[in-house]
């Protein structure tokens, strides 16, 4: 195992998540794509810590930041979906885009 293999797995996770986030119409499914992308980021940060600079804790801090970003993204995402659904009965991105009019 080396850094490249870990990063390729992380890139695969990131791109699968990106595909989901771009194609899914439901906001909740879109958020699952985002979670997967952040999972890739966590893996890449951990690999960078292990293979580049294990003596400093910067890589670990990056993992912590990514995990927090996941939590924040999910909480705000669900709150927005709840608010949208409550006011307009909307739970899909395309319908939310039409709200501009």
């Amino acid at each position: 195992m080396n850094l490249e293999v870990f990063l390729i797995v992380a890139a695969a996770l990131f791109c699968v998540g990106l595909f989901g986030a771009l194609t899914q119409q439901s906001i909740v499914m879109l958020m699952m794509g985002l979670e997967l992308m952040l999972g890739g980021v966590i893996l890449a940060a951990g690999a960078a810590w292990h293979y580049i600079a294990p003596a400093t804790a910067d890589g670990q801090v990056l993992v912590v930041v990514a995990i927090t970003a996941m939590a924040v993204e999910m909480a705000i995402g669900f709150a927005v979906v709840t608010a949208l659904f409550r006011s307009r009965e909307v739970d899909m991105t395309d319908m939310a885009a039409e709200l501009r009019e």
């Binding site: 870990f6 899914q24 499914m29 293979y51 600079a53 294990p54 670990q60 709150a79 927005v80 739970d91």
Partner: protein
């Protein structure tokens, strides 16, 4: 041993990630995402980051359990008993993602990665704690503020009833008018 663990976890993680968008049932999709993220936690343990790996497992389990509730709540077809697709612009997205993946892999393989500097400390967890409470204090404080702001914003967005609904228009009611009574005798 570690190599085998790495490959098993890597294949499971990517397979779980792909299956998230192939399952019709929302419950299955959520728990396939959980599988993928648990494998990411496992990979962190393989890398020697035991604490962060276990914390990832802990957080993702709880997060996905909560996510399942919202999935069921907001999807038209949560059990996937009537297969339907809810996707848009599949071809463009696929092209974009494949391009992104190829670019990323090219970058990963071609970049002149620096050589490993230093050795991992005996206890990376202590190292992380010292960093967060020392040189990275600003990061930690920002994260704390972000989480606090998230709590406030989430409550504001998600609640429909404010204090006027609970205590009346002049806020004079002695006991709040809640649909569900709580447990501390109010």
């Amino acid at each position: 041993m570690t190599t085998a663990a790495f490959w098993i976890l890597a294949v499971l993680a990517v397979a779980g990630g792909v299956m998230v968008f192939r399952f019709d049932s929302m419950a299955r999709a959520t728990f396939s995402l959980l599988t993928a993220l648990l494998c990411v936690g496992g990979e962190l343990i393989v890398l020697g980051l035991e604490y962060l790996g276990i914390v990832t497992v802990l957080m993702m389990t709880i997060e996905m359990a909560i996510m399942a509730v919202f999935m069921i709540m907001f999807m038209m077809n949560p059990a996937g008993l009537m297969p339907m697709t809810m996707v848009h612009n599949k071809r463009g997205a696929a092209a974009l993602c494949v391009t992104a993946f190829v670019l990323l892999v090219a970058g990963i393989l071609l970049a002149p990665w620096p050589r490993r500097r230093g050795r991992a400390p005996a206890d990376p967890t202590t190292d992380l704690g010292m960093a967060l409470m020392g040189p990275q204090m600003l990061t930690m404080m920002t994260l704390g503020m972000a989480l606090f702001a998230t709590i406030v914003a989430t409550v504001v967005l998600a609640t429909r009833r404010g204090r006027y609904e609970r205590y009346g228009d002049d806020l004079r009611a002695t006991r709040p008018d809640d649909p569900v009574r709580g447990g501390v005798g109010r």
